[in-house]
């Protein structure tokens, strides 16, 4: 990653961070219904991975997926509008926070059943192989997803078929309120499982966008060359609670403090300064991000609600919802 790319990544991360902060505030103001699972703290994984991928590669994410939608090109406005149930939302207010999708950028969805999207990514990789496009598929998932059956089935199938798919675990140490180490038989829930499928399992600092970019680029090269899938376990931490207004009191203060000091934005900023980028340049990126998000909030707020008739569109590919004559 050269300095220009790093600066762009920084700005992208700043944009995500501010969007997540906005989502949090809007939720507390009662402007976001249902629930949100914020990715603040996880930005480097989405942005670093994206920097290593081709535009036509496929991305599948979880309910904690705002960062992936944005890293693949969704705008803060589209995202916030979706959260705020506006007609201009990414999914026309039919999906909500947990299902952000940007299909025209090959971000093929956010799925809210833990683990469900791993086999889908395998299928997308299979499809890429069948069509001979050289595309890759990447599934991002949490540490908690490593204990569910679909994880196992997906990794085995991908390995047996030697498919171009990467399994990127965002290990933030917790499932909802339970420490992953309390419910998992091995210390590294994802990487330690890779040998069970005869594939590489690497661990990376998920808060360092450069390390993530490098690891994904390396494993992607391998996969595209026909050497099969790999597991990448990216260590990270969420800045907010699991969802909604969870204060995350189950996390020791000392642990929280340590991780907040290991902030992906700070790390990238440090790298930029070290590379000789002037402070003002970085600050300018921050400010641009701030402006974009501020405008996004306003735009989303003033966008209209969806037409109620939207409830009856798009069940079927013909656009309708008829189930009987």
């Amino acid at each position: 990653m050269d300095t220009a790319e790093l600066l762009a990544s920084y700005e992208q991360m700043a944009l995500i961070r501010r969007t997540e902060k906005a989502a949090h505030d809007l939720f507390l103001q009662g402007l976001v219904k249902g629930t949100t699972h914020l990715a603040a703290g996880h930005e480097a994984i989405a942005v670093g991975a994206s920097a290593a991928l081709r535009d036509d590669d496929y991305v599948f994410a979880t309910y904690r997926g705002h960062h992936h939608a944005m890293a693949r090109g969704a705008t803060p406005e589209e995202c916030l509008a979706e959260l705020m149930s506006r007609a201009t939302g990414l999914c026309r207010a039919k999906g909500g926070s947990m299902h952000l999708t940007k299909a025209d950028a090959n971000m093929l969805g956010s799925y809210a059943i833990v683990g469900a999207h791993l086999p889908m990514a395998v299928g997308a990789a299979w499809s890429a192989r069948l069509r001979g496009t050289g595309q890759l598929a990447v599934a991002f998932f949490g540490d908690g997803a490593t204990n569910i059956g679909s994880f196992h089935e997906a990794l085995n199938l991908a390995a047996v078929w030697k498919l171009p798919v990467l399994f990127v675990c965002e290990n933030n140490l917790y499932m909802e309120y339970t420490r992953i180490s309390d419910v998992t038989a091995v210390p590294r829930p994802a990487a330690d499982r890779a040998p069970a499928y005869g594939i590489p399992g690497e661990v990376v600092d998920g808060n360092d966008v450069v390390s993530v970019q490098e690891a994904v680029a390396r494993l992607a090269r391998r996969a595209r060359a026909g050497d099969g899938p790999a597991v990448l376990e990216a260590e990270t931490y969420r800045h907010f609670g699991h969802s909604r207004a969870d204060p995350a009191t189950y996390r020791p203060a000392e642990e929280v403090e340590r991780w907040l000091k290991h902030d992906p934005l700070d790390i990238a900023r440090g790298r930029l300064i070290e590379a000789g980028v002037p402070e003002e340049t970085v600050t300018a990126a921050d400010e641009r991000a701030q402006t974009v998000v501020r405008q996004a909030i306003e735009a989303a707020k003033s966008a209209p609600p969806p037409d109620p008739r939207e409830a009856f569109t798009d069940v079927w590919a013909d656009g309708g919802a008829a189930w009987r004559t």
Binding site: G34, K94, G96, M98, H99, G144, A311
Partner: protein, 326 residues
């Protein structure tokens, strides 16, 4: 005990009462211990009963319900939590193929006294994968008892019956009712599964509802009363056993029937109920039977859309009115 109790508190209270009576009752599920459950429906259990009886699990729905089954076959009375009822799909094999069949297919050699509890239903903006009313999945499978209480007292009483039952029970706790309040249940309150309750009497139309739709039906009835339409509201409470006797008796008084279902029309419990009525109660009917059910679409996120899909008081009122005028 307080003057009122919430539906949410009633869940924990119902489980706690049984855990106090019977040491073979144990709980397992995701985040049910220290955290008291994502919906706080197991709050206090870990503290009172300790780690030996309240087990936090990994995200492994198959292992949760499968282990509950194995424990139930060997002397325990496990109460397994599946966080959202949509996730029953992740362990559906156990609910569809294993638990309801094992007694029968072994010629009666084993029993499976377990409860699978789960947070059910929509109306809260949780989107397509966290909002479904999935009781009907279970209804397609003989061998499961299905409980879906609408009041805190029924939660406690039916939880007692479910945990004491030697048969497997799927216990649907409605997310939209968790914050609702009601009179606390008396000590040792037990509500037998399979007994519907006539929660309002009326002479003109019978409304049969379940769980979240019971308050909707009651509100609609009050409005209809002002128009001079007397509505009898039956809270079904259980889908299996299905209390057709109560429904048919009510119909004997009213001759008109409307079901109110949160689930999609296609495949809903109201259909089974109506088909019994169309056979055994045909002579009682003075008008068509109407089902007010959810539209046959996934649950959308936005409120304005979700309201289009899940039955509202207005829709119930309109359906009843049309029948009363038939």
């Amino acid at each position: 005990m307080a003057d009122v109790i919430t539906y949410r508190e009633a869940v924990a209270e119902g489980i706690a009462r049984e855990m106090r009576r019977d040491p073979s009752v144990v709980c397992l599920g995701e985040d049910i211990g220290e955290a008291g459950g994502v919906f706080k429906t197991t709050a206090g259990l870990l503290k009172e009963f300790g780690r030996g009886r309240v087990w936090d699990t990994p995200i492994s729905e198959q292992a949760i319900v499968g282990a509950a089954m194995g424990a139930a076959m060997t002397g325990m009375r496990p109460v397994a939590e599946i966080m959202f009822s949509d996730f029953l799909a992740c362990c559906w094999d156990y609910l569809a193929n294993e638990i309801p069949k094992v007694r029968y297919m072994t010629g009666g050699q084993v029993t499976v006294p377990l409860v699978v509890r789960t947070a059910n239903g929509g109306g809260l903006g949780f989107g397509a994968q966290h909002s479904q009313a999935t009781e009907n999945w279970a209804l397609t499978v003989p061998g499961l008892k299905i409980a879906a209480p609408s009041t805190p007292a029924d939660v406690v009483g039916m939880m007692a019956a479910a945990i004491r039952s030697d048969d497997p029970v799927v216990f649907f706790e409605h997310k939209g009712l968790l914050a609702t309040k009601g009179p606390p249940p008396p000590p040792d309150h037990v509500v037998e599964l399979g007994r519907a309750a006539v929660v309002r009497e009326g002479a003109d139309v019978t409304l049969v509802a379940l769980a979240s739709m019971v308050p909707v039906a009651l509100t609609a009835s009050e409005r209809l009363a002002q128009e001079g339409i007397g509505v009898e509201v039956v809270d079904l409470r259980s889908l299996v056993p299905l209390d057709m006797a109560t429904v048919l008796a009510s119909l004997g008084r009213t001759s008109r029937l409307v079901t109110v279902e949160e689930n999609p029309y296609q495949g809903g419990w109201g259909a089974t109920l109506v088909s019994v009525v169309a056979d055994e109660g045909f002579a009682l009917l003075d008008a068509p039977v109407r089902r007010v059910a959810a539209e046959c679409v996934p649950l959308p996120f936005a409120d304005v859309l979700e309201e289009q899909v899940i039955p509202t008081v207005d829709k119930v009122v309109a359906a009843v009115r049309s029948l009363a005028a038939y």
